[in-house]
């Protein structure tokens, strides 16, 4: 018994159809609570098997080493962090008994002294009890200069890490860093009794036979094909309700869709169902397609060191000249939602009151004329010898993005701007070309949050420009001292209620400056068999496989 997104029979997705779809998607998400009451109950014992299809292969099983989103999906099932985050952004204690805050004394008023109390009933998959030593070991390992850890952001500020008792650990932060609670919600604890014995943690056998405290235990892996996990009967939380969890690597999205149709896979994980298959997917019998929010935002990111982009009028005119709705409706079938900012709508720091984009080519032309950009004989504007021409790059082979680029090229030609498309393979464009600001502009989808935290210092701070020697991802070379100040305030204010207004102000300033032209917030379109319950998309995690401990088959 489950609701479905019904669509009218006409195949061409009209504006009304898109609106209906949006409403239906919203209704589905909103009525989740109501639906939960009509849902069948989970079984008493773990039963059955779920096969999750993934279009990229998970290959990293030590959660502290560099990994991508599909790897995190596996980590959520094998390991546990001190506290997790639910779909509304609230922290939920896991290995810790409560989430430390200033209110409950877990964090001192100045934000620097932390005390975390841990559960005493957790066992590793091999039966050894979990203790505070594992927490200390994990953070020490991350900071170990010989260990190839994914990120030391936040962890590098930890000093005086002390094991007070097997169920309590304390430390001091070198300076208050509000995003650390969020970073810890994505930091999985690894077993000291296994990894401490390895001569080199980078190549320890543990990395391919992981032992965690999560709802599922490692069973086997066939490289290039699948990974099998089995239920952990001693899991400390609720669930799991499945006996076996299989992650199957299906390299092509069309093939994955076919396997979804035939039922060879029970759930399509990342990258999900493509927008052009969405209609077809909803008509497959016995399946349910879920359109949920994602944290990624698609935008045109401009390199502000280029003379054309240094003029505010140019950036605003480009934004007016962009037909956002056209891109979303025609190319993405109306599924993602328009956005004016870099945070997902579901974030607690989101600013809903930003000025809304208007597609007004006349206004764009007017602005450019007023700013002194006059059209040359070829129709392209120029000012002081600088032509309003630039390249736009994205991942080659992404045919949907290529279509969006062509639409933009047309729109902007109309207002006298010459945009050339220069796409390249992923391994090339997202290397030095992007990181060292070698581009003119890129069309990119980014999740700028720090894990589940709205801290975007790495993207907007003037010290975070890699091309100028900074350590960050401010590849657009954006510099605004007001923004720097707000970012610092946001990162050092520990109280969430006080942080939210800071990020709303930040969003307003950035919306005015327009260093990037935000287009839409992504949706994930994932499908599963309609007798499988428990799926819950969340913008606060990198993979919607985060809560498979709650998934079950209806009996």
């Amino acid at each position: 018994m489950s609701s479905r997104i019904w669509l009218p029979a006409s195949r061409r997705l009209t504006r009304r159809g898109a609106l209906a779809l949006g409403l239906a998607a919203g209704a589905t998400l909103g009525s989740r609570a109501a639906r939960a009451q009509n849902q069948p109950k989970p079984p008493a014992k773990p039963t059955g098997q779920v096969v999750v299809g993934l279009s990229q292969e998970p290959t990293v099983f030590n959660p502290l080493m560099p990994h991508i989103e599909v790897d995190q999906g596996v980590h959520w099932n094998l390991f546990s962090p001190l506290w997790g985050v639910d779909a509304s952004g609230n922290f939920v204690p896991q290995l810790a008994t409560e989430v430390p805050t200033v209110a409950n004394g877990g964090i001192s008023a100045d934000g620097q002294s932390w005390r975390v109390k841990l559960r005493n009933d957790v066992k590793w998959h091999d039966g050894t009890p979990f203790t505070a030593e594992d927490v200390k070991f994990t953070i020490d390992l991350i900071n170990n200069p010989h260990f190839r850890s994914a990120s030391r952001n936040g962890h590098s500020l930890v000093t005086d890490l002390t094991v007070v008792s097997p169920t309590e650990v304390t430390w001091r932060m070198q300076k208050p860093f509000a995003p650390y609670s969020s970073i810890l919600s994505w930091t999985f604890i690894v077993p000291q009794h296994i990894l401490a014995k390895a001569s080199d943690p980078n190549t320890a056998p543990f990395n391919n036979a992981p032992v965690g405290t999560g709802p599922f235990k490692w069973s086997e892996r066939m490289p290039g094909d699948h990974i099998t996990l089995v239920a952990n009967p001693d899991f400390f939380g609720t669930g799991p309700y499945l006996e076996r969890l299989v992650f199957r690597y299906v390299p092509d999205l069309t093939v994955m869709f076919t396997q979804f149709q035939t039922g060879a896979i029970d759930h399509t994980g990342l990258q999900g169902i493509t927008a052009d298959h969405y209609q077809q997917a909803t008509k497959v019998a016995g399946r349910k397609v879920e359109v949920g929010p994602a944290a990624f935002v698609e935008s045109i990111t401009m390199n502000l060191s280029r003379p054309q982009f240094q003029d505010q009028a140019v950036r605003e005119a480009l934004y007016y000249g962009m037909d956002k709705k056209g891109i979303i409706d025609a190319i993405y079938y109306g599924l993602p939602s328009e956005t004016e900012t870099f945070l997902p709508r579901q974030s607690w720091a989101y600013n809903p009151d930003l000025p809304k984009h208007v597609h007004d080519p006349a206004k764009a032309k007017q602005m450019l004329d007023a700013a002194g950009w006059t059209a040359g004989s070829d129709g392209i504007r120029a000012k002081n010898g600088v032509r309003l021409a630039f390249t736009n790059s994205t991942t080659a082979g992404n045919h949907v993005r290529e279509q969006a680029q062509q639409l933009l090229q047309q729109d902007w030609r109309e207002i006298g701007v010459d945009m050339q498309i220069k796409d390249m393979p992923a391994a090339v464009i997202w290397g030095d070309y992007f990181n060292l600001s070698q581009y003119d502009s890129v069309m990119v989808g980014q999740d700028k949050m720090t894990g589940p935290d709205p801290d975007v210092t790495a993207y907007y701070d003037s010290n975070a420009i890699p091309a100028k020697g900074g350590a960050g991802t401010n590849t657009m070379e954006y510099v605004n001292p007001k923004v720097d100040a707000l970012l610092l305030a946001g990162a050092t204010t520990v109280d969430r209620a006080k942080r939210a207004p800071i990020y709303r102000d930040l969003a307003a300033i950035i919306r005015t400056d327009l260093p990037t032209l935000p287009i839409f917030q992504y949706v994930t379109i994932e499908g599963h068999k309609d007798t499988l319950f428990g799926y819950q998309p969340s913008v606060y995690v990198a993979s919607n496989c985060w809560n498979i401990a709650q998934w079950y088959w209806a009996s």
Binding site: R148, N207, R244, T258, A458
Partner: protein
Amino acid sequence: MSAYLLRRLGQSLILLLIVSVIAFGVLHLAPGGPLAQFALTPGMTQADLARIAHQMGLDRPLPLQYWEWFHRMLDGDWGRSYRDNQPVLAVIGGHLPATLELMVSSTLIAVLIGTWVGVLGALRRYSVFDYLATVGAMVALSIPTFWFGLVVIYAFSVRLPWLPAGGMYTIGEGSFLDYLHHLIAPALVLALVTVAIWSRYMRSSMLEVIGQDYVRTARAKGMPERVVVLHHALRNALLPMIAIAGLQLPTLLGGALVTETVFTWPGMGRLFLDSIGYRDYPVLMGVLMVTALLVLIGNLGADLLYAVYDPRIRLD
């Protein structure tokens, strides 16, 4: 003979060295790197990426990196995959059985059917069968494997639930019958192209042999047609096929990328493509060296077999 072998061995080693230098250079000098996959991963900062690049030794001068790879390889350590940190030889070895299964079965089917079609086509030249076989071969060569594979899946997995939609076996099961059930579609799709090629080669080789004097003599002696064809003609017609088979050896282990993608078969072709996408240099070097080795072994083996099979050939 042994002088010949020694000389070939020496040549092979020098060739392998040159291949390794060129491969290493091209891979590392091509734009992009193994850290590009993390550039947009939430949670990782530029500082982290720079540190990881240093820890992986990617910022050292290229000749130094090559020398390190080279002398480790001589010790038997082919390095570890950048992705799952498994030893490269284990990674290649892990994907090899799947590829061998697929390629051997499809080649076997292709050779058997192709030989039969080619021989019959030559014997009954310009007949209806020959004409159909020629047209059929052209069609089979022109059909894109990706499209044909999807058509087969659509027909036999989606519409008619006769065959599975992909994978090597049903997870949870693993019986031999289950393996065969999964092998049928990809092996046949892959065999399609090889049948066409093989039958064309076989036909022209057979035609050339049938025109020879000794075949006419055998027929004049009153030998049964079956003996003439199988014992005299076919034996000689197969000679050039040995050389072709030798060239096929690296393909045998290189896998068939498109078929593996469509049928989610975890083979070497897929491994190679994924490794290129992620710039997994150690695995790529491993696969390239293994392929080079196979090309050289295949050629040497074909030459030796030729000499054994055909007494007219002298190796020196």
